[in-house]
């Protein structure tokens, strides 16, 4: 048996801690152990499980009753994002230059030729950790997250 677990059980036997506390400590130890054992794999598996990119805009009560309200609920499968990104690599060079030019005009200095499959995978993995939660003063909330 693990030394730490033994100590927790001893403390419980000696009535130094309650059963609730012992349970909490044991589960904390277990989760710590599993995280340390498989950090890269567990992380990747969790990210692989994320299936959708969600964008939700919920109007505040003031707007809802005031008459002007906009509600947005978008669910985009991650596979669609991946397929769309793959599709960009098939763009002819002239079209890519046009897109790059249009992006530069908008102040985005991004070269689509640098979008490599490995970079796409990294980007999508990073996207799994994305969570945007904005609440305005009138109660409107904007949420962008991956589930």
């Amino acid at each position: 048996m693990d030394e730490n677990k033994k100590r927790i059980l001893e403390m419980l036997a000696q009535n130094k801690i309650s059963t609730d506390e012992a349970y909490r400590l044991l589960s904390a130890l277990e989760s710590e152990g599993s995280a340390a054992e498989g950090t890269p794999k567990a992380g990747t598996a969790a990210r692989m499980k994320s299936k959708y990119l969600r964008v939700c805009v919920v109007p505040g009560h003031e707007r809802e009753h005031g008459g002007k309200c906009e509600r947005v609920n978008i669910r985009v499968p991650m596979t669609l994002i991946r397929a769309g990104m793959k599709f960009t690599s098939l763009l002819p060079p002239e079209a890519r230059d046009k897109v790059n030019g249009a992006l530069r005009e908008k102040g985005i200095d991004f070269d689509m030729r640098n979008l490599k499959p490995e970079a796409m995978d990294q980007l999508l993995e990073a996207l799994s950790d994305l969570e945007v939660d904005v609440a305005s003063s009138d109660g409107e909330t904007v949420k962008v997250f991956v589930e």
Binding site: K68, R71, R75, T79, L80, R82, A83, F87
Partner: protein, 92 residues
């Protein structure tokens, strides 16, 4: 195996009128296949024309990527509502 969505629900509502459609994509796919078979002689003519230009590989990849995008559209949901307008697209 990936498979394309079977149904698409499109609902658009304007200030005065609106409409909702259930598109049976599973019926459109055999039609697309039939169109492909009908157009295959033209495709066979086009292949030797575009072969030297190096378009063959790109065309094949585009077909593959387009099919992948179609398959990935399953579970897509877009629901945007304002006071008088509504756009709802869902692929199942």
């Amino acid at each position: 195996m990936k498979r394309p969505p079977m149904l698409m629900h499109v609902k658009i509502r304007g200030e005065r009128r609106g409409f909702g459609l259930w598109l049976p994509l599973f019926l459109l796919l055999p039609l697309a296949l039939a169109a492909f078979i009908i157009l295959s002689p033209l495709i066979l003519i086009a292949i030797p024309v575009f072969w030297p230009k190096g378009w063959r590989k790109r065309a094949l990849h585009i077909f593959g990527a387009a099919f992948e995008i179609l398959c990935s559209m399953r579970d897509l949901k877009v629901d945007v509502q304002s006071d008088h307008h509504c756009i709802y697209i869902s692929a199942v």
